[in-house]
Amino acid sequence: MVRYPIPQWLMIVLALAGLTVAISVYGILSARLTATNPSQTSLPGIKGMLAGLKQITARQGTEEKPKESWLRQDTKASLLRLILGIAIGVFASIVVGVLMGSYLWIEAPLAPLISFMAKIPPTAMLPLYMVAFGTNIQLFIAMVALGIFFSMAMSVFQATRQDVTQEAIQKAYTLGASDMEVIFEIILPQIMPRILENIRLQIGPAMVFLIAAEALFADVGFGYRIRLESRLLRMNTVYWYLALLGCFGLLLDFLLLKLRKWLMPWFQG
């Protein structure tokens, strides 16, 4: 029967089984490829993967001028770009979205423009950002921030319209609220769960935009390293980077869900 419940232990067993199958399939493919071509690097085995791990965590530079490992350099660079980009994009889209949802004279000029911009694939805008910002950190921040801004501003705008009823706003005025109080005390808390949900959904696209921009224009960072290493066919380092990206995404997802449960116990999504 569709949606028939199964016990919890079975869920866990099946989840582990899925993981085991995925790893086994990889192992079999890797072993078969190595049998025909012992020097292959497309599907490295355990030994190759460990070598890759060593490669990305090893200190770089010379004796006199030591540098941090690739992993540290890339994580620092990418994380800074991603966090600044998301922070700026999210903040701007909340401000613009809420104002558009609150005042018709702000919605009227901005809504058509923003919904048009939201339709352009953000990565297609990269050349524009490069012209505007060069290849400094601003380029990557602009790519991430503007990449999520247009679509997120529209969803915050929609949330302001749909989640906050006219009655809720009028009642606030009968309780002595000012315009600013309606925005800060009624609208913002009411749409906060939707904003957090949007941030969670935008992390994936934000990472796409960052990796794309880094692959093209950076000299350090996850996107740069993945592109460079795959060009050199050193897939044993590339796979580590991909796995780390996946884990990072899952972790953020988990943290944001926890944050919502903790900050907004009233919300039932």
Binding site: T165, E167, A168, Q170, K171, A172, Y173, T174, L175, G176, A177, S178, M180, E181, F184, E185, I186, P189, Q190, M192, M264, P265, W266, F267, Q268
Partner: protein
């Protein structure tokens, strides 16, 4: 002392006239029921008093101050509660105190003072929750409350600011029968407090105007019934007040004996709801005359 004065209020949407020359004066402490056929303009009138949709002609004043927009003098209770999901019951009730007595800059920049004031607000909110018999649900969010409980919170939320007049738009329309009876009795209790205040020479605290489609509820809860309809000689100009009379006063502990209401209910049905019965609009508008008569009778000589 007049809590609400409506003078010559008319409203129309394009060619369609909805309200015509409405005059209504409500005194502090009255609980007024407004009834009328659906589409007669009850909600238009309510929105005009609330101030969200000003009428095309006439003036409305609450406590002498003309209404130019929704403000703290006119409270509102909606049929579907409209509580704030993100606030607990006590925070919902305390919201009015917070918005009315403090400002955003104060709360942001004078945080220590605000926090101590906040405690006082919550204490006052819990007192009001007690009045609507919800002291045990103070910490719960609206999603965890039943419909009747939510409406009690909404009433406490609106009353805590002591508005000059409290509007209730079909407040019990979405509730089951038993809950509705409970809440009706709660309003009767407030009316008793009004009478007590009047007897002691104080200004009564609760002035209410509620819209309902249940005639029994109107006559049972209110002390005055106002009927709005377009079945009068100038009906083509829009609905107006065609019925305005006092009605029997029940105490909360009185039996719900609706046979006492039968006669007036028949009269009301005839005067307000019968499209065949066209009369001059003032035929059943005699509230203030009847009050004056009663007062004359009670006078010592």
């Amino acid at each position: 002392m007049d809590s609400l004065v409506i003078e010559n209020v008319s409203h129309w949407f394009g060619e369609t006239r909805v309200l015509n020359n409405i005059d209504l004066r409500i005194e502090a402490g009255q609980i007024v029921a407004v009834v009328g056929p659906s589409g007669c303009g009850k909600s238009t009138l309510l929105k005009a008093i609330l101030g969200t949709h000003p009428t095309k002609a006439g003036t409305i004043t609450a406590d002498g101050i003309p209404i130019t927009g929704p403000n703290r003098n006119v409270g509102m209770v909606y049929q579907h509660y409209s509580l704030y999901d993100f606030l607990t019951a006590e925070q919902n009730v305390a919201l009015g105190l917070k918005l009315d007595e403090t400002s955003l800059p104060y709360r942001w920049f004078a945080l220590p003072w605000w926090l101590s004031k906040r405690q006082e607000h919550l204490t006052r909110a819990r007192e009001y929750l007690k009045r609507v018999h919800l002291q045990d649900a103070a910490q719960r969010y609206p999603s965890g409350l039943s419909g009747g409980m939510r409406q009690r919170v909404a009433i406490a939320q609106a009353m805590i600011l002591k508005p000059k007049i409290l509007l209730l738009d079909e407040p019990f329309g979405a509730l089951d029968e038993a809950t509705r009876e409970d809440l009706q009795m709660m309003l009767l209790q407030f009316y008793q407090e009004n009478l007590k205040a009047k007897a002691e020479g104080r200004v009564p605290e609760y002035t209410m105007l509620f819209v309902t489609h249940e005639l029994n509820e109107a006559l049972y809860v209110a002390d005055r019934v106002v009927g709005l309809s377009r079945f009068h000689t100038e009906g083509h100009l829009g609905a107006t007040v065609v019925y305005d009379r006092p009605c029997p006063i029940f105490k909360p502990e009185d039996p719900r004996d609706f046979s006492r209401l039968l006669e007036q209910k028949e009269e009301l049905r005839n005067a307000v709801f019968d499209p065949e019965y066209i009369k001059h609009h003032s035929e059943y508008v005699s509230f203030w005359d009847e009050i004056a008569e009663q007062a004359a009778k009670l006078a010592p000589n």
